[in-house]
């Protein structure tokens, strides 16, 4: 019962965020960047301004709607990069073993020693702010868990009968890894990927909040909150809605990840219940 609730609520929240992001031009009331009008500055939420307006008279509702695009793009794309790096390194390390395994292990340990947000911050410092830099910074810093998981699965799978059969049939290494090993480890990797997307959304918000992510005036939920901090006494509503959007999106991904884990990773279900 609880299993379904996770999946349904999480899936719906995530789907809602995606729909909002896709339909942003139709859902938004005004242009999120251009429509600044000081006549409307710092209006509290009302029927005209659903979420209120900011210090430059921009409609917060429209900015939150457009902000979904940045958060989701960064969340999905950077996690895809992480998953590809993690699976690529982990799977090959577990399959081939030997010196390559040692190299991958050393790399993973190095990644685990540096807190990922700090590493991402350092990369942003080098690349400068912007969407591409965000994708690179967050895509390169959060693959270690996927890598460990893929390596462990590959180690246990490579001696299975069907993998040996594939070797005997003369399949190449790459073909064995992709057609025989990968499908059998996908479940837990999808789970980690879903949870990782949530943390990427949070990291994007954090970096943008620090002024290292998406540059204003483009509406990122994180940079909106950074502007809100300075006006918290005069316009507290500015601090509410972007944060709520982050919360609901990440909550959706976390619940979805938990729900998927219950289905795709039965081992952990028996551990948990």
């Amino acid at each position: 019962m609880k299993l379904r609730a996770n999946l349904v609520i999480g899936g719906s929240l995530f789907a809602l965020a995606i729909i909002v992001g896709l339909l942003a031009p139709w859902l938004a009331h005004t242009d999120p960047v251009m429509d600044a009008n000081l006549m409307n500055a710092e209006e509290p939420p009302s029927w005209t301004w659903w979420f209120g307006t900011d210090g430059q008279g921009r409609d917060i509702y429209s900015r939150v709607v457009y902000g979904a695009r940045i958060s989701l793009t960064v969340g999905i794309v950077s996690q895809l990069i992480n998953s590809i790096i993690g699976v690529g390194l982990g799977l090959s390390a577990g399959y081939f073993g030997g010196w390559w395994d040692d190299v991958v292990n050393a790399l993973t340990n190095l990644m685990l020693a540096i807190p990922s947000l700090i590493f991402a911050l350092a990369i942003m410092a080098v690349l400068g702010p912007g969407l591409t830099s965000l994708l690179i910074a967050l895509g390169l810093t959060n693959w270690s868990f996927t890598c460990r998981l893929a390596r462990a699965s590959a180690l246990s799978l490579r001696n299975q009968g069907y993998v040996q059969a594939a070797t005997v049939l003369g399949y190449g290494d790459l073909r064995i890894m992709i057609t025989q090993l990968l499908p059998n480890m996908l479940g837990p990797i999808v789970v980690i990927g879903t949870l990782g997307m949530g943390s990427a959304v949070l990291s994007e918000a954090a970096l943008s909040f620090l002024g290292l992510g998406v540059r204003p005036p483009f509406p990122s939920w994180g940079s909106m909150l950074s502007e809100a901090r300075d006006q918290i006494t005069t316009a507290p509503w500015l601090s509410v809605f972007p944060g709520l959007a982050i919360f609901l999106t990440v909550l959706g991904l976390n619940l979805l990840g938990d729900g998927l884990r219950d289905i795709l990773d039965p081992q952990s279900r028996s551990r948990r219940t």
Binding site: K2, L112, A122, A228, I232, V240, L251
Partner: protein
């Protein structure tokens, strides 16, 4: 024990060296000369002189050699702007950061572990459901958003606590940042504790203890708690790393004068020696904490031996 400690410390050396190399390489490929962003007048002679002063006219590998040699003596370089040694900058800010990290970890452990325990002892109950909903919500919050809301409520509305700053270093300044930072490790600890306790409750040795007539309180106290502690410790160790990362955001939000805000400010001003130094110190701290936890494993669980 001693040989274990020495071996573990030796094991961290390659990691530390790799981090040093990584951080150095990362910042020596910064596009654009640091000097040209520093001086407004683009007189090439001035630029050359500054480069020479800072040793930036040397090839990269030479600079790396000098950097490592200085590191070995505890010299992290000096700020390009103010010429203040990075070691002093970090030393001044280490204590506030340590206060913040340990206070939030204490908050997380004191709240999260009992919450997970209570939830696990009555699985499926209202307490269980509510605490797990709270836990997943705690993990989904943006830390600085929570901080902003707490700041608004407890500082600006109710006036109970100062809204930001370090003040005289007293406890009231620490509460809001520490709670903000502590919420997500608390949530994670509650979940881990619950999962660990649920798993241990079905273990053979618990069934044996019960069947020989041991009271439930004693079973939980003697068998379940001790075994759950290992998993809780592991989670704590990993969470210290995440805390160090998140501290950057929380320190910035609350204008807390720690290493995290030093790191952000240095990144924004391209103060490279301070960035390199702060990252290195954070990594060293994280490695030290993990070493400590490895030692604690053996204290809690005698089955783990340091062979």
């Amino acid at each position: 024990m001693l040989s274990f400690l020495i071996r573990r410390i030796l094991q961290t050396i390659p990691t530390v060296l790799a981090v040093v190399l990584l951080v150095f390489v990362l910042f020596s490929v910064v596009p654009g000369s640091i000097v040209s962003t520093m001086s407004d007048d683009s007189d090439p002679q001035v630029e050359l002189r500054m480069k020479k002063q800072l040793g930036l006219d040397q090839p990269v590998y030479m600079r790396f050699g000098v950097y490592v040699a200085r590191l070995a003596t505890g010299d992290l370089g000096a700020s390009f702007r103010t010429r203040e040694p990075v070691t002093t900058m970090i030393a001044k800010r280490a204590w506030p950061t340590l206060q913040l990290i340990f206070a939030s970890m204490a908050f997380a452990v004191l709240l999260g572990v009992p919450l997970g325990f209570i939830a696990a002892l009555r699985p499926g109950s209202l307490v269980d459901t509510v605490s797990m909903v709270l836990a997943v919500s705690g993990l989904s919050l943006a830390k600085f958003w929570l901080g902003l809301l707490l700041m608004y409520l407890f500082a600006l509305r109710l006036g109970w606590l100062p809204s930001f700053g370090y003040g005289d270093g007293s406890l009231k300044y620490l509460i809001l940042p520490a709670v903000t930072l502590g919420v997500s490790p608390m949530a994670l600890l509650a979940r881990t504790t619950r999962a660990a306790v649920l798993e241990i409750m079905t273990a053979d040795f618990v069934r044996t203890a019960r069947s020989k007539g041991m009271s439930e309180t004693r079973v939980v106290k003697w068998h379940v708690m001790r075994n759950a502690l290992v998993l809780i410790l592991t989670t704590m160790g990993l969470q210290f790393g995440a805390l160090m990362g998140q501290a950057v955001v929380v320190e910035k939000l609350f204008s807390w004068p720690g290493i995290g805000s030093l790191l952000v400010d240095s990144v924004l001003q391209r103060g490279i020696p301070a960035v390199q130094g702060s990252i290195l110190v954070v990594v060293l701290f994280f490695l030290a904490i993990n070493l400590l936890i490895d030692v604690l494993y053996g204290v809690i669980d005698p089955r783990i031996r340091y062979a």
